[in-house]
Every structure is written in C-alpha cells, then in structure tokens.
Symmetry: C3
Subunit: 352 residues, 3 copies
C-alpha cells in the first residue's frame, strides 16, 4: 500500500485538511499506528492521542475540533469510512475454493447454488439447500432439510441441526450450535420426561452470530432471529424466542424461553432475561442486568432485578450511603432515648 492522502479522500468522499500529498503506507488504530499509517478518530475521548500518534494522517468527523497539526480527511462517519479503507488495504482474506471438498460428505439430495464452497470433513444431510456463493467451512454439520441462503459464511466446526432456515448474508462463527432441542421437561412422578421440540430456528438476512453461541429450536413453531441482528460470543437463546431486527446481543447474554426482544434493542454483556416476557423496541439493558418482567420500549434498564436506569442510579447511590445512615439513625435514636422511652427499642431487636 502506497497512496496519497488525496486518493484516500476521494475513495471515501472526504475533505482534506493539511498536505494532500502526504504518503500513506498502512492503516492502524490511533495507539498502534506507526510512521506512514493512516488512522482515525471516532471517539472524541481519544482526541488527545492525536498529539502523540505517529500516524501520518487521520480520518476524523466533520466539525470536530482537534488541536493537532496532523493532516486530516474529514468525513461524516470516520469509523465507517475507515472500515471501507481497511477492506481495500487490509490483509488479504483467506480464499476458499468454490467447490465441494472430496473429503466432505454431502448427501445426494442436497441442492447447492452456484459458487458454493464446502470444506473437508463437513457433513450436509439429505434435503438441505445451500445458496449461491455461500462458504461452508470444514468440520461443519448441516442437518436434514436445513436451508442456508446465499452469500453466507459458516465458519469451521459449526453445527446447524435439521429443518432450520438461514437467510442471506448470514455469518455463523465457529463452535456455534443452531437448532438444538429446547430445554423442556414435564415432571411425571418425580421424573423429568422430555417434551419433544419439533419446531425450528429461523435466522433472517444479514444476521451475524459469534462463536460458541447456542440457539435452541422451538417447541412447536420457530425460534426467530430477525434481520440485521448481531449476536456476540457464548450467547444462549432458548426455544421460542423472537429477537427483533437490528438488535445487538452482547457476549454471554442468556434469554429464556418464549421471550420477545424488540427492534434496535441492546442487551449488554452477561444480561439475563426470564422467559415469557417482552422487551420493547430501542431499549437498552445494562451489563449484567437481570430482566424479570416486561420492559417498555425506548428505556434503559439495569440491575438485578432490572429497574429503570435513573431509579437504579438513585437506589445505588443511596445504598453506598447506607452504612452512614445507620450510624446517623443510631445517633437520632440515642437522642430520642435520652428524652424518653419509646417503641424504637423494639425495632432494634428486629434489626439483626
């Protein structure tokens, strides 16, 4: 890579400040940048780093004031513009042959679209359909009758059980399991009898699923992940859940059965949601929150059990003052006792 800042600016439709002839030889984050690198500034919190960065130039938001002499390209969305540049100049992605490995086991009734790649030691069962240009890597299992759309990337060692439906441009990272049996039993004379889980999993277009995620099949109908939603690593989604469009489910979140999550929802890391509740559109649940009932749209909830964010802040601040409060009440009680006997002494007994 060797390119002028002027060329960079034209690739992303940006405006140059400083020397348009600056030579760019690489791209990197603001801390890691070495001489000749292009970097970017998305979070104004990191602006002071521009004083010390070794980068040759920076992609930065229009209108953001930064006291730096570093040559700049001004764009609307620096992170997005930089991503586009990285795709052009970054390390070459590994390529996979557009053919079925002789060491894969693909049942004769499987329908493969044009340009499909199937890696070695992968099993695709009877009646499955794989859309055009989809890459199914090695060690993958795709069950009977499962349909995978076009332009998907199924990474090594993924398991997708029978009768699931995966949309277009879906990525599923290694170790994830789609369509396992939902966790359902009925107690009969003290023994847990398995409830058959005959439903399926539907994953719509443009969903990305991280590594070692588990998404269970529905009891009857379908567990559904709607289009554009992104799921991080080690997330658990139980049977019959309905996850709305363009939501973000961060790592180690667990969602219990039959729960509905709206559109544009963010569940931060390690959140847990009980079964049979609804979280409204555009709502954010803070990290480690435990959602135990319906949450309205456009809210921010946090805590265990989760409560409205402002209430949580107030309660938590109060909690930190509690040891002092107890001392103060003891003082007040002492004064009250000094003036006469009262019922408060009984409360003291209940105090332990």
């Amino acid at each position: 890579m060797k390119i002028t800042l002027k060329e960079i600016a034209s690739l992303v439709g940006g405006e140059i400040e400083g020397d348009a002839g600056t030579i760019i030889t690489g791209a990197s984050g603001i801390k890691e940048a070495v001489e000749g690198d292009l970097t970017f500034l998305a979070n104004p919190k990191y602006a002071p780093l521009l004083q010390t960065t070794r980068a040759a130039a920076v992609v930065v938001a229009k209108g953001l004031k930064i006291g730096s002499a570093c040559p700049m390209v001004r764009v609307d969305n620096p992170s997005f513009a930089f991503s586009k540049l990285i795709e052009i100049f970054g390390p070459k992605k590994p390529e996979f042959p557009k053919e079925v490995s002789k060491r894969a086991q693909v049942a004769p009734t499987v329908k493969l679209g044009k340009g499909v790649s199937v890696g070695p030691f992968t099993v695709i069962e009877d009646g499955a359909v794989i859309g055009a240009r989809t890459i199914v890597r090695s060690g993958v299992y795709i069950g009977h009758g499962t349909v995978v759309g076009a332009d998907c990337h199924i990474f090594p060692n993924v398991t997708i059980r029978e009768r699931c439906a995966i949309g277009n441009r879906v990525s599923i990272h290694s170790g994830s399991v789609i369509g396992s049996d939902g966790f359902g039993y009925v107690a009969v004379k003290g023994v847990h009898e398995k409830i058959p889980q005959i439903g399926t999993v539907v994953i719509e277009d443009d969903v990305e699923i991280g590594s070692n995620v588990t998404i269970d099949r529905a009891r009857f109908d379908k567990t559904i992940i709607r289009k554009g939603t992104k799921i991080d690593n080690l997330v658990q989604i139980a049977h019959n859940c309905d996850i709305g469009e363009n939501s973000i489910i961060v790592a180690q979140v667990g969602i219990s059965g039959s729960t509905s999550i709206g559109k544009n929802v963010i569940l931060a890391g390690q959140v847990g949601v009980v079964g049979h509740v609804t979280i409204g559109d555009n709502t954010i649940i803070g990290a480690k929150g435990g959602v135990s009932k319906n949450v309205p749209p456009n809210s921010y909830y946090i805590g265990i059990p989760a409560m409205e964010g402002k209430a949580f802040k107030k309660v938590h601040a109060a909690l930190l003052r509690l040891p002092g409060l107890i001392a103060k009440v003891r003082g007040l009680d002492g004064k009250a006792a000094g003036r006469g006997k009262g019922g408060a002494g009984d409360a003291e007994a209940a105090d332990n």
Copy 2:
C-alpha cells in the same frame, strides 16, 4: 395426519368434552395453532387464549374451568399427554444408519454394541465401548477407554475425553466437552504449576446435556452427574462436583469445584455456586443467584450473595424505599437539630 378427537382421546386415555368426531389434521401451540390443529393448555395463565385460538380442539387438565366452547380432551397432565401425541404425529426424526461410517476412525480395540451408528469424521479411541443402539453422530471425539451406554445419542461435534463413563439413554448435544482437565494449579515461585487431573467424569442414566456445556474431570476420583438430571446449554461444571438425581441446571450456570448439589434441585439461569459447598435436596436457587455457602434442603435462595427468598424479598423491597428513607432521616435530623445539637452531625460526615 387426519384423525378424530375420539381416537386422540383413546391414545392418551382422556375424556372428551364436545364433538368426538372433530377432525384433527395437525398439532401446535395455542398461539401458533391453525385450523384443524390440536393444541393444549398446561399453564392456566394462557386460558384466555382459548377464546381466540384457531385450534380445532384442546388437551386440558381435568377439573380446570375454562369458558370456551372448543372441543376438549381432559387428561391428568396435558403437557405430557400432548408430548406423547407429538411423538406420534410430529415431523419424522432424521434417521441414522445402524453402522459405522467408512469415514469414521474407530480404533480396532473399540467394542461396539448391536445397532450402533457412528457418523463420518468421528474418532473413537482404543479401548472405548459403545452400548447397543447408541447413535454417535459426525465430528464426535470419544477418548481412550471411555464407556458409553446403550440407547444414547451423542450429537455432532461433541468431545468426550478418555476414561469417562456415560450411562444409558444419555443425550449430549453438540459442542459439549466432557472430561476436560479440571482447573487446578499450585503457585510455585509466582508461577502456576498445573495440578494433574487424573480423575474422570461419570454421567448416569437418563441424563440430558445441552449444547456447548463443559464438565471437567476430577482431580482424583470422579465428577458425577447422577441419574435423570437435565443440563441446559453453556453450563460449566468444575472438577469433583457431585450433581444429584433429577436436578435441573438451567443455561449458563457455573458450579465451582468439589461442590455437591442434592436431588431435585433447580439452579435457574446464570446461577453461580462457589466451590466446596453443598446445596440440599429439593432446593431452588433463583436466576443469577450467587451461592457462597451451604444451602439447606427444601429452600428457595436468591440474590448475590444468595439468601433465603423471603429475606431477599424484604431486603429488596426495603432497598427500593432507601432513597425516600434517607430524605426522611434528613428531615428527622433537621427537627432534632432544631431542638439542640447532637452527635448525628458526625454520622453525616461518615455518610459519603
């Protein structure tokens, strides 16, 4: 599927209310049901849905009053009866050839029972034993000397390490790892030296293990999961644990080393249990609970650290009132101060 309600009733030993000649053409949940479907009502909370369901008939508990003209089959346990019917009428389960795939690698000393199925790209090491009719799917690893019982189902991409013992009718879902080394080190001059984990894992009859679960082998003896216990996805069970019979371990629970869990225990989602403690029989730990010491039998504990459920409820309700309490004490203090100076002002200083 095309069958009369009368035939349905006879299959599950139920009593008909309404038209015994009602034709059933499918089966589904109460919300998803379409015309001709049989549905069921297990949770009385959903009874109002019977007013609007399109189902042709419903399986319902004896004695439960429901204001609906929908034809019914009355049984003792609707969920269980419906499960039986689903097994008869539901989608056909995939079948796997009762033979060893030529693409599996099964060591010559492995003993296989009658009717065993071994999928492609599966490895079974020297000295392992696989019981009759057990299905070992593709991409599975079964280590040296491990014994798997009869009628088990080991799903794709499961790993079972050496010298483990799996009972009869055990299901282990995809991505789970049984018998990894326990997490044990001893600090020697600031370096963590590994403690050998020479024990094993024993999984008794009728246990079901979800996807991407990890169960570590014991340091010396055995980590044991007793009969009839059901384990959900992404659960961690550390070395030397003893999990009692017919317990339910919900998704993302973590149990630290050498802990004993009783019979018929329920650990709800994302519960954590410290090492070297005991949870008594029939106890329930609420979701996200953090168990830090022994819990007696027949209890309900919740919270971090976990406490008795009623105490938790009281403390939590009090916590929500805390901001108001602080305001009230400030008021009382003001009144007290108005009447004379006291020590409470010092408590105020400790208040921050």
Copy 3:
C-alpha cells in the same frame, strides 16, 4: 504401583514421620483414599479428615500440627509434591502417534516441526507453522499463516483462525475458538455495518486455555494473552484485550473490548469487565463482580458494580439491616410526630 514411604520421600525431598517402610500401592484425595493409598493435606481445613482417612500415609506441610498417627512425608508444598508423584504413578496418559494422520488435510506449504502429531479430520491451512513435538488432535482447524509453537497440545475440535500466534507449551482444550472476528459494528442509517477485524490473537508461552473459550481477534493490532496465564472454561475475551502474565481467569468470565488486565490478577467465576478499562497487577475480583471502571493494583474488588471489598462488606451488612432500620425510623418518626408536625411526612410520600 508398590513402593515404600522412604522411596516416596526421596522422590520429593521430604522428611518422614512414622514408619518409613509403609507400603504405598496407590494415590488419591483424602476423602477417596482406600487402603494402601498415599494422600496429601494442602488445606488445613481438611486436617480432621486425617482421623478417618483410610490412606496409608499422607504428604503434609512442614510445621503443620496434625493430631494423627498416620505416617507422613513432610514437604514445603504438599500439593505440588503430590502432583509430581501423581505424574509418576497416575494413570498412563493417552499417546498420539508422532505423525500426520492420512485423514488430516494439511496444506503443502505448512511447516511441521520434528515429532509433530496431527490427528484425523484436522485441517491446517496454507502457511501455518507447527512447532516441534506439538500435538494437534482430531477435528481441529488451524487457519492460514497461524503459527503454533513447540510442545503445545491442541485438543479435539479446537478452532484457531488465520494469522494467530501461539507460543510454546500452550494447551488449548476442546471446543475453544481463537481468533474469531471481534464484535464491532458502526450504525449507518439504522443498520449495523460490520467493522473489519484485521488484527490477530497472540497467546504467549505456558498459557492454558479451557474448553469452549472464545478469544476474538483485534480490530487492528492484537488481542494478547501473556505468558503463564491460565483461562478456565467458557470464558469470553473480546477484541484488543491485553491479559497480563500469570493471571487466572475463572470459568464464564467475560472481558469486553480493549480492556487491560495486569499480572497475577485473579478474576473469579462469572466476573464481567467493561471495555476500555484497566485492572492493576495482583488484583482480585470476587465472583460475579461487575467491573465498570479502572481498578488499582493490589486490590480486592467485588459487587455489581464492583467496589473495594471492605466497602462492599460494610454496605452488604448494612443492607441486611435495612428492613429493621426502616421500622426503627418509622418509630422515631412516630415519636417526632407525637411532639409536633414536621416535614418528614413529605418524605414518607416519596417513600414508595
């Protein structure tokens, strides 16, 4: 195994108390020990078990007083000494042929050190390097250009993506995924556009990684796990994290992006750490703690959000007294009200 206590003592440089001729025929934990077994006592809490153990002899710390007539070997570190003995007398570890299985798919450009073992159904892509004596088991995936050092053990069904660097003497247990894409998107007109993750993962010497762990590749530079650190099962480490030397990350911990963890840190089970913070050297975070900001070195933090351990203890103890406190304040308020009206009544209204 049949050996005298005298020989045992000489193997670990210990001092004998009692009959040096005691015959040892096995080794086990203090509870599981049977006749003829050697056992050990590391945790003084278990000393009373020496009264009832059936063990023939015990390895115990110098200077520890135990009221038992059991023959002993006194050493500095009983746990470590016993581990050494177990390696000599324990069950033989499975061995793997020092060759590449014909059923592995190893690209022609892969460089293999001396004595490397590659199991069946494993894929090693172009440009990868595997160091001497490293064991790569079955069903493993190693991506393009990834370098694995010498004397490593990569267990079955592990996935290591392209361009990662693994040091020497590293163990990675089954189901773990190293080098998946970091979880990064930028919102463009309501749609989450993927941010390319072109960095890598570096795992230094003597690291052990448990089962079903996920470690994401960096956005630009590297996610790094420094030497000697041990990671338990089901841990999530996000992109750009820097985990210091000799740290212990217990099961189900989640560490968000760009966070730095110091040396000799312990993160207990189910801890969560937000992104872009630093945890200082030698710090311990208690189980289930939620770290939301920087934590200084040499500290103990716990709670959600995590706070200094002593403060947490004080606050938690106060919390348990809160229901009693509310009753007491009601009593005080009643007395105040009896003496005259005040503003506290308004606070009562705010109380719900």
